[in-house]
């Protein structure tokens, strides 16, 4: 092989490398413009979505806030008064404050469950909203409603499992909160 041939081969290799590099840079550039275009498209889409959401918000009727608040206040307050009356009654029988309050809780839970069973609690909830959701009777409602409705799926996967679709998260996060606060309290002690 002649030396000049070697040079020629090297030259070829060099040219090839330069060409490769160019196409690489070109591709890189393409990718960059593509990315920019994509980002522009995405922001445009987001803008369009925001604009549409605004239109929807303008046209969608708002909940009757004042009426809802009044109902929630009165019904929520009355349920609490009922709880207080029951607790007072049991305290009057000579029970400790703690035990009387436990009785009140149990009885309210029973009432919430019972009226859900009768199909009346959801009628109350339609008007009272949070007034019948936030008290402990609402917690009972959230247990009975799915349990009853999923009875057709059997007693294990229906009643047993679905009972906790809403109450489950409440228990989980309640317990986790109690654990964390207990832990902090124990460390600081």
């Amino acid at each position: 092989m002649h030396i000049s041939d070697l040079g020629g081969q090297n030259k070829k290799r060099l040219n090839y490398k330069i060409a490769q590099h160019r196409t690489y840079n070109l591709k890189k550039g393409d990718n960059m413009t593509n990315e920019i275009n994509k980002k522009q498209e995405q922001t445009q889409e987001k803008m369009q979505q925001l604009e549409y959401q605004n239109k929807v918000d303008n046209i969608t009727p708002k909940p009757p806030l004042f009426k809802n608040i009044c109902w929630a206040f009165v019904v929520g307050g009355l349920i609490c008064i009922l709880g207080q009356l029951i607790a007072d009654y049991f305290e009057g029988l000579g029970l400790s404050k703690k035990d009387a309050s436990a009785y009140a809780t149990a009885i309210l839970v029973f009432l919430g469950s019972f009226f859900t069973g009768l199909g009346l609690y959801d009628d109350l909830g339609k008007r009272a909203g949070a007034g019948s959701i936030v008290p402990i009777t609402g917690f009972a409602n959230s247990i009975v409603a799915p349990a009853m409705e999923f009875k057709r799926e059997g007693y294990v996967f229906g009643v047993g499992a679905k009972m906790f679709v809403i109450a489950g998260p409440v228990l989980v996060y309640g317990m986790v909160t109690a654990f964390i606060i207990g832990l902090i309290y124990w460390i600081r002690q």
Binding site: E45, K46, Q48, Q49, Y52, Q53, K55, V56, I59, T60, P61, K62, P63, P64, N68, T116, G119, Y121, D122, D123, L124, G125, K126, A128, G129, S132, I133, G138, N141, S142, V144, A145, P146, M148, E149, F150, R152, V165, I166
Partner: protein, 334 residues
């Protein structure tokens, strides 16, 4: 001959005929605005059956049998059935079809299922494959509510923009020969998603899909809205209806004079259904009763009928995805 016209539409060479329709509803729909336009009103939402899902199967079976009986045909005359509902894996439809024992293709287009079935029927009939096809759709308020939202006995408030899922079913018999209004064109919709995530805002989620299909239909067929006596959408409710009018106005098309949504035609104000009706049966029961009678008596001659479907699932909603929607259209002319 190519029957496709424009981007998404077909024009039928031998427009198939809607020879018969039938519908059935629950008690609440029966007390609503369209009293007297239903073949059967159930006394309650169970109708003596063991579950709401079974009741929905019954609804569909009834509607199909009734529609076939009304035009003096036998079930054996039906070459194929297109049907669907809202429940997971088309539960209600499949149990109804088990009893009917006819060749069957299940469709899921959510609340656009009725129109999806009609346009497929028309295509197969015009293509000369079959002579008689049934298209049907059903929904059941309590069955849908417990699948998509909350248990029925849970004491929650529905926001004022929410819609009420219709309990009912409608079926149409589409034939190659016979008397009745004809399906002349069809426009197949695209999935449209404007980023709405609230499952209580079905109307606003679906409105852009309806607008997309109406717009495309007018483009493809080179028609103006006034070509039709009425344009109907399936179940957008009052909020969605207003949005459709507004969005089309922005595109320079005014349909406010001859447009109505089936979801606004079922319940009266006092029934507390909030923004109107929704569900597969919303468009189905209105078409198979009120609209069909109007067509047969020539009070309406040309209509554009759209089915609008929101294609979300409980999983997609819980994973915070937005609601993809679709709308299909058929034009029906007497």
């Amino acid at each position: 001959m190519n029957k496709k016209q424009g981007m998404q539409s077909v024009v039928f060479a031998n427009p198939p005929i809607i020879t018969s329709t039938a519908n059935i509803v629950g008690p609440m729909e029966g007390e609503g605005l369209l009293q007297g336009y239903f073949d059967y009103i159930m006394p309650d939402n169970l109708n003596g059956l063991a579950s709401w899902e079974q009741c929905e199967s019954y609804l569909m079976e009834y509607a199909i049998k009734k529609a076939v009986a009304k035009e003096n045909s036998e079930m054996e005359d039906i070459d194929c059935v297109f049907a669907g509902d809202l429940l997971n894996q088309l539960m209600s439809t499949h149990f109804a079809m088990k009893n009917l024992k006819r060749p069957f293709l299940g469709l899921y287009g959510a609340c656009s299922t009725m129109v999806e079935g009609m346009l497929l029927s028309a295509i197969l009939l015009d293509g000369g494959f079959f002579n008689k096809i049934v298209a049907a759709a059903s929904s059941h308020h309590d069955a849908a509510e417990r699948q998509y939202r909350f248990p029925n006995e849970l004491g929650v408030q529905r926001p004022p923009g929410a819609q009420w899922t219709v309990t009912g079913s409608g079926a149409v018999v589409v034939s190659k020969l016979g008397n009745g209004p004809r399906i002349t064109t069809a426009t197949i919709g695209k999935v449209v998603d404007y980023g709405i995530k609230d499952p209580n805002a079905m109307g606003p989620a679906m409105a852009p899909a309806a607008v997309d299909t109406i717009w495309q239909h007018l483009q493809d067929t080179e028609r103006v809205p006034t070509y039709y006596d009425m344009i109907f959408t399936g179940d957008l409710g009052s909020v969605g209806r207003d949005l459709v009018i507004q969005l089309l106005q922005e595109k320079g098309v005014d349909i406010s004079a001859n447009y109505q949504d089936c979801g606004c035609m079922i319940y009266s104000e006092e029934q507390d259904a909030h923004a109107g009706a929704s569900g597969c049966a919303s468009s189905a029961i209105v078409l198979c009763g009120f609209i069909y009678k109007r067509l047969m008596t020539s009070k309406l001659k040309k209509i554009l009928f759209l089915g609008t479907g929101s294609l979300h699932s409980t999983t997609s909603y819980q994973q915070k995805e937005s609601i993809p929607c679709i709308a299909h259209a058929v034009s029906i002319e007497m």
